[in-house]
Amino acid sequence: MASSEVLRVEHLTVRFGGLTAVDDLNFSAMHGDITGLIGPNGAGKTTVFNCITGFYKPTTGLLSMTHPSGRQFYLDRMADFKVASTAHVARTFQNIRLFSGMTALENLLVAQHNVLMRASGMSVWGVLGFPVYKHAEKRAAEKAAEWLDKIGLYDRADDPAGELPYGAQRRLEIARAMCTDPVILCLDEPAAGLNPKESAELNTLLRGIRDETKTSILLIEHDMSVVMQICDHVVVLEYGQKISDGTPAEVKADPRVIAAYLGVDDSEIESVASLIEEAIPGVKKS
């Protein structure tokens, strides 16, 4: 597999008022890998995502991205739409954000906005009806159709996105992100709310994306079956800090990860209970 770094997060810290959501986080993602970002609720995963995709500006820290071509970008210094349009970082959202009143096809055409905009000569050729734009639009529609086929929604291309079933909306959102030709695809809990069959289909889709388009994937997920099956590399966060980093097998065996997910260790239960009793007299341990 590829070995060059596509994303490096250095000393990333984000504070909201007094709350430190992400605290001096360091990790890197390799080109062509699926990197998983896991951790309990409130660990700061989505905040990291929002920094990488430009929606939040980090309080301190550096986010550098290297394209396969060697071009470098500092994501923390770019406007959110530039992160997507020039650094080619695409993302999906935890609570699906499709253009629900537009058809599935239109959703994928909007994703190719910047390409089509150039082809339409900033709309001038387009309004005048020049063929340059017509060809470009045809190519864009072909690309959209290809993706719709890949996610199994070709037949529903002309239905409004808001009327698609939940699982289909999740897939459509991924396809829409892919239509921007991303170098990194950031997925925020793509398997949330999917049934086991849909979840398995998602795994196939994501593996396909990695293997066919060489897109690097960054993934937040709670569904451990997805994480363990498809991730090449996992980073675990707790309270904004990294507590583990490695292959899925390594992370799974890390005692700190187990502690984070299960609360305290079994051996400590006695001592914690006695502390509670000391603090609040009258409370008996059951």
Partner: protein, 459 residues
Amino acid sequence: MAERRNIVLGAAAVAIVSLGMFGPLIGLKTEQNMANELVLLFRPWHMLAAIFGAVAIYVIVTSLKAANEGRVRAVAVKTEKSRFQKWLAPGGLGALFLYPLFIALFVGVSGIPKWVDNFGILILIYVMLGWGLNIVVGLAGLLDLGYVAFYAIGSYSYALLSLHFGWSFWICLPVAGILAALWGVILGFPVLRLRGDYLAIVTLAFGEIIYLIAKNWKNFTGGGAGISAPRITFFGIKFDASENGFAAWVSWVMTSISETFGGPAITLAHAPWYRTVFLYYIIVLLALLTAYVTLRLRRLPVGRAWEALREDEIACRSLGLNTTNTKLTAFACGAMFGGLAGAFFGARQGFVDPEGFKFIESAIILAIVVLGGMGSLIGVAMAAVAMQGGTEILRELGFLKQVFGDDFQPELYRMLIFGGAMVIIMLWKPRGFVSVRQPTAFLNERKAIGLENVKEGHG
């Protein structure tokens, strides 16, 4: 039985409430006597009539509701366009072009000022303004409550440019459009990062500022007295009875043609309606230009970006769309058509004053866009005809004077009924007349999208 009792009780409640509401305001009229003192006039019959009217409306509405209860509405699913829909656009276009001819034939030339000018031209101005604002509100989902500012900028641009530089209408028209678009960008740039109703309020404030400046900057705009704008010419030929006028020119052309074939000389007498008809066709073309550009832009990336912005701004940014530029283009496009309509309005009036650019005009245009169904050209046109034409007809109800006496002035009720219609249509169809959205591209078949999925934007 219980239902009937409820209605009676409800009617009694309505009677009491309306007594409180209308008692002082209708029952007691304030009037000035000879000594300029305010005195009260007791009008029991007016008051009773109002209360009776309120009760009657209540009883009718409640009984209708009761009658409709339990009746299941059939949900019709149509994918094929009905024949009516298919012929609506071409039929409407044909009717639009033949309208003056129709009036001339069936009402006579004397009917032209009323039917072509008051109805045709005025309604078409509102259609055009509605279509222009539709780009901003209906497509991009940005709530603009000060749209009339751009209409004003267009009008004043025309009047001032022709006054100071002597430019003709046909030069001023595009310049007015460009100036309005420029102002759209200038005003839009600082405010477009505002979200929600704040954008609406800032645009409202801008609209009022432009109106107040037009009203108070006497040296520049002529203040409340206004300034005159040159009347429209037939590409430089004036519509008057002079030797160089339009009638004389047409006579000369016709005669030359006729004489080439050995025919007699043809003379055309001057009539004021030539200009009206000419103006009518100009506004038809301007409105159609608006519609054409809108339709075209919707199928371009910029138009899709507007609609995507209305649906979800954050998703747009995640896809690399420069949302500020997208909003600005929508604002500028809308403003440009407002400016073009404004320049036309100036040329039609031959005079520009601030009174036509009050907030109420913005509200009416916005109402037309929302009542029509946001984003739908046909719907907006229908709403403009219904609201503007419908209330214009009220001016024609002079015969009601014979019923209610000479004091009765139907035109006073015009805006009252306009407001009432706005409320009733919103209660009846909150998404407007046309509540479907046509997709801008399709793979297998074109299916209209119900507006229940379509968002309204938040700007």
